[in-house]
Amino acid sequence: MEQMKADLNTGKKHKLRDIFVEGAIPASFIAESIAKHATRTDIGGHEIFLGQVRSDVIDDKSVEAIEYTAYREMANEQMTVIREEAFARWPQMTCLHVHHSQGVIKAGELCFMVFASAPHRQQAREAVAFVTDEVKKRLPIFGKEILSNATHVWKSNEPRDPGSWPG
């Protein structure tokens, strides 16, 4: 129903895409994504969010890398729903690209990209904020933070009391 509404509003079809890439997202990949939009002269602004693996300190050990795994099929299905919600809310948005890493991503490397383009900046800005937050909340992606002493802890986007998830 939500899907149909989105399609009716935008006239766009949202097929299932695979957002996952193996390893870190190279900066050159982002440049290529940007350059591809030069032919779309109805675009006035691009907004991009990039997630970078941060070297947090946990119990005196620093995070050296995050190993990402995902329930890939469910994550891609959830992403299709989020994409349709975004196009329904910002129907003037020209395009939306999302990628997430799988595998071991070192501190300082990029693991996540949300890229929206629109005629006016507010639409792209709001869509990127929405999609970034919803991906973090709704996509079954798991992160093992590998510490400097070769131990690890499991990352969670929303600290919860044991047993409260999915809340």
Binding site: T69, L139, G143, W165
Partner: protein
């Protein structure tokens, strides 16, 4: 039925999936918590055919089940 395991749950079970039979979500959870040491103490969600279920429901055995620890994407 096939039960997919992820993240800390896969680590605790030392397996990426399990085969189990159960006629409902609640009996499946009970069986899983017997089999995977420490699962009861974890935060997790259960997905049936890639949708998180919040209530008990009957299972036919052909569903794809997954145990999901807290999400950490981004």
């Amino acid at each position: 039925m096939k039960v997919l395991l992820f993240g800390i749950i896969a680590e605790k079970a030392n397996a990426g999936e399990l085969e189990l039979e159960a006629e409902s979500v609640s009996s499946l959870k009970h069986a899983l918590e017997q089999q995977i040491k420490g699962l009861r103490e974890l935060s997790y969600a259960l997905a049936v055919d890639r949708v998180i279920v919040h209530n008990d429901q009957q299972l036919t055995g052909s569903e794809e089940i997954a145990l999901l620890p807290p999400f950490a994407g981004g």
